[in-house]
Symmetry: C2
Subunit: 388 residues, 2 copies
C-alpha cells in the first residue's frame, strides 16, 4: 500500500433474503415525502414494487412516483427527476432497481438544490456539489454496477452521444441499501450475465495498474476467482441462491473503493465501452465484454508481470517453466474461454457497431492515464477495429 488515501464508506447495507423489512428501520429517519425511482416496470411484475409501497405506507410516507428510468439514464430524464423532486420537496430519493436507477437517484440528489444545469456542472465541467444533497436509499434488484455502495453516477446525453460518469464523494453515497439476492433472480439470463461481466471488469480496471505488491490486488484476485466460480454455477442454474448471493455481495465490494486503495486505476475498458454505449444504447456489461479482450491483448506487453500473476492467481495456470509472456497469454485465453462459457458479447459488431462508425466512436473516447499504457487515438481505433 504505497499510496496515501482516505477510506470512508458510510453506506449501511442490509443483505439477505427478506432484508426489505429493514426499510422499517431506515424510513423513520427521513421526512414524509419519498420520491420512488424505478425503471421500466419489472419491479411491478416481480412484486417488489408492492412490497416497497407497503413499507412506505406503513411508515406514513407520501409517495411521489418517478418511474421510467432507462438503462442508460439520459440528461432529459435527469432534468425531469430534478423537477419532480423540487415540485414535491422530497425528503428521500428511494431507488428500486439496478445501477441505472441508483446512479440516476444520485445525479438527482446533487441537482435538486443546485441552480446550474447538472449535466454541464457535473458531467462537462466535473465540478463537485456545493449545495444541499437530498439523501438516497437503494433497493437493489440487479447485481453488477456497485452503485449501491459508492458515489458514482453515469448519465448519457443521447443527442451528443456522450455517456459520462462522475464519482461523487461519501456524502452522495446511498445512506442505506437493501440487497436481497432473491430480487435479482427474476432478471433475464442475458441481463444477469451482463451484470456478472460488469463486476469482473470493475475488478480488472482496478487490478491492471501499478507495480507494487499490495492488499488491494490480493483482494481483487479473490473477488475475481469467486465471481468466475459463482458465475459458472449461476449460468447453469440461475436459481442457485448461494451463487447469486455471492455474486451480489462481490459486486458491492468490486466497486466501493476498497480494491482501488493505494493504487492507480485504469478504467479504459469503461471509456471504450461507454463510447460504444453512446452509439448503440447496448447493455453496459456487454459493451465492456465486447472490447475487453482486444484491449487487454493490446496493453499486455506493457504490464506483462501483472498479466502473468493474473494467470496464476485467478486462472490457476501452472507457472512451471513458462515465460511471463506465455503465462500472460494463457491467462487471457482462460478468461476468453470463461467469457464464451457464460455467454457475454465478444464483439461490438453483435451490439450494432459497423466499420463506418469506428471513427465517430473513437472521437468520443476519453483516454485514461492510470493503466499500463495511455492509448493514442490511433490505438483506440485499432482496439475498436479488433473488437468488431
Amino acid at each position: 500500500m504505497l499510496g496515501q488515501f482516505t477510506y470512508y464508506n458510510p453506506t449501511k447495507l442490509y443483505f439477505g433474503e427478506g432484508a426489505l423489512r429493514y426499510l422499517n428501520e431506515e424510513l423513520p429517519k427521513y421526512g414524509p415525502t419519498v420520491q420512488l425511482i424505478y425503471g421500466g416496470g419489472s419491479i411491478k411484475r416481480s412484486g417488489v414494487y408492492d412490497q416497497v409501497i407497503a413499507a412506505l405506507k406503513a411508515n406514513g410516507k407520501r409517495v411521489v412516483e418517478d418511474g421510467g428510468v432507462m438503462p442508460n439514464p439520459t440528461t432529459e430524464k435527469l432534468r425531469e427527476g430534478v423537477r419532480i423532486a423540487r415540485e414535491n420537496q422530497v425528503d428521500l430519493l428511494l431507488a428500486v432497481g439496478g445501477g441505472s436507477c441508483c446512479d440516476y437517484a444520485k445525479a438527482v440528489s446533487v441537482s435538486v438544490h443546485c441552480d446550474e444545469d447538472p449535466w454541464e456542472k457535473y458531467y462537462l465541467r466535473f465540478e463537485e456539489p456545493t449545495c444541499e444533497i437530498v439523501p438516497v436509499g437503494c433497493v437493489l434488484t440487479m447485481a453488477g454496477t456497485g452503485s449501491e455502495m459508492n458515489g458514482g453516477a453515469v448519465i448519457t446525453d443521447r443527442a451528443a452521444k456522450l455517456k459520462i460518469g462522475h464519482v461523487f464523494g461519501s456524502d452522495v453515497m446511498p445512506r442505506f441499501s437493501v440487497l436481497d439476492p432473491r430480487f435479482t433472480m427474476t432478471l433475464p439470463k442475458r441481463q444477469m450475465v451482463a451484470g456478472i461481466y460488469d463486476i469482473f471488469n470493475h475488478i480488472c480496471e482496478q487490478y491492471f495498474s501499478g507495480e507494487d505488491e499490495n492488499v488491494s490486488d490480493d483482494l481483487a484476485e479473490a473477488l475475481m476467482k469467486g465471481v468466475v466460480r459463482d458465475s459458472l454455477v449461476a449460468v447453469r442454474d440461475p436459481g442457485d441462491y448461494e451463487a447469486r448471493s455471492n455474486i451480489m455481495w462481490a459486486a458491492t465490494w468490486a466497486l466501493n473503493t476498497l480494491i482501488a486503495k493505494g493504487k492507480s486505476t485504469d478504467w479504459m475498458v469503461h471509456m471504450l465501452g461507454q463510447s460504444v454505449g453512446g452509439f448503440t444504447d447496448a447493455t453496459h456489461g456487454m459493451t465492456l465484454s465486447a472490447v475487453s479482450l482486444p484491449y487487454y491483448r493490446f496493453i499486455m506487453p506493457f504490464g506483462l508481470k501483472k498479466f502473468a500473476r493474473f494467470a496464476v492467481n485467478v486462472w490457476d495456470v501452472r507457472p512451471d517453466g513458462k515465460s511471463d509472456r506465455e503465462l500472460a497469454e494463457a491467462g487471457l485465453a482462460a478468461m476468453e474461454a470463461w467469457m464464451k462459457e457464460i455467454g457475454v458479447a465478444l464483439s461490438i459488431g453483435e451490439l450494432g457497431v459497423t466499420a463506418d462508425m469506428i471513427e465517430d466512436i473513437a472521437d468520443t473516447v476519453e483516454p485514461m492515464t492510470g493503466g499500463y499504457r495511455t492509448l493514442t487515438r490511433d490505438d483506440v481505433v485499432r482496439v475498436l477495429r479488433a473488437s468488431l
Copy 2:
C-alpha cells in the same frame, strides 16, 4: 453468502505516510477537551506524542493526559480513565498507541455517562450501552488488533484472572483512525511479529467455520496469503515500508467485520489465548500462536474439507492425488513452518505456563459454538497440555 446480515462501518481511515495531518480535519468536529490516551511512553520516545500534542494545540484543544495504559488494560485502569473523563468533561477520547489503547478508549467511551460499574455491565453481564457515548479517535502505532475499525474492547480483571472482550456496535467504533505505517516501525521485532500472528489468527477464527462457498472466505484467503508474503519480507527487513504498510492495512480488514459476513465464526483460539493471557500477562499475539497448532490439529477432522482448501488456496499445496486429510495436514505443516520462520511462540511453556496451572486456566476458558467443534472441558485441557 447464505446468512442475513447488516454491514455498517462508518470509521473514517486516513492511511499512509504523513496521515497525521488529517487530525486538522477531524479535531474541529469535536468540543474543546481531549483525553489523550497512551501507553508506556514509547510514543514519547518515537516523537509521535509531540506531533499529536502539536496538532491538538494548533486546533485549540485542552489536553487531559491519560497515559500508562498497559498491554492488557485492567478494570482498575478503566475505572481511572472513566474518572478522568468525568472530572474533565471530555469531548473526545484520542487513543495514540496500539490495540490496547484503542480498546481501552472504547471501554471508557461507553462508561463515562453510565452509572453502573462498566466491568460488571459490559463484561460480566454483556449488556449494551444505553447511555451517551463519548466519541473515540485513534492514532495507531501497532498493526494487529484491528481495534482501529471495529467496536471491540478487551479488558482484564487481574484479580479474577479474567480477560474478556466485548464487541460493541457501530456507534462505539472509532469515528476516525490515522494509520501511518511509519509509526509502527519503531516497534521491537517481537511485538511486530506478535501483531502479525494476531492478524493471521483473526482471519483463521473467521475462516475455519461454515460449510458454503462464500465471498468472505475468498477474501480471508487473500488476506492470509498477503500477510504470509509480507511477514516474510518484514521479518528480514522490518524497515520495508511496502511490507509494513500492507500488514497494517490487512490488519484493519482482518477484523472490521467484513470477512465474518454471512458466516458463523469460531474465536476459540482467542478464548484459549485470553485465558493464558489472564494467567501470564503474556503478549496477546503470542498467547494465540502458542495454542493454535494443537487447537487446529484437534478440530481438523471436523472441518477437513476447509483445512484442505486452506492448504491449497493459502499455502499453495498442490492437490494432485492427495486425500483431504493429507492436504489438510500439509497445510498445517506449512503454517507451522511459517510460524517458526517469523518466530512466534509455539508453546505456552515459553510464556510461563507450567503443567500445574493447566486446570486453573481451563476453568476460565469459555467454550465457543461457532466453529467445527465445541470443546468440552476435557478437550480444553487436552489442547492446553498439547500446547505446553
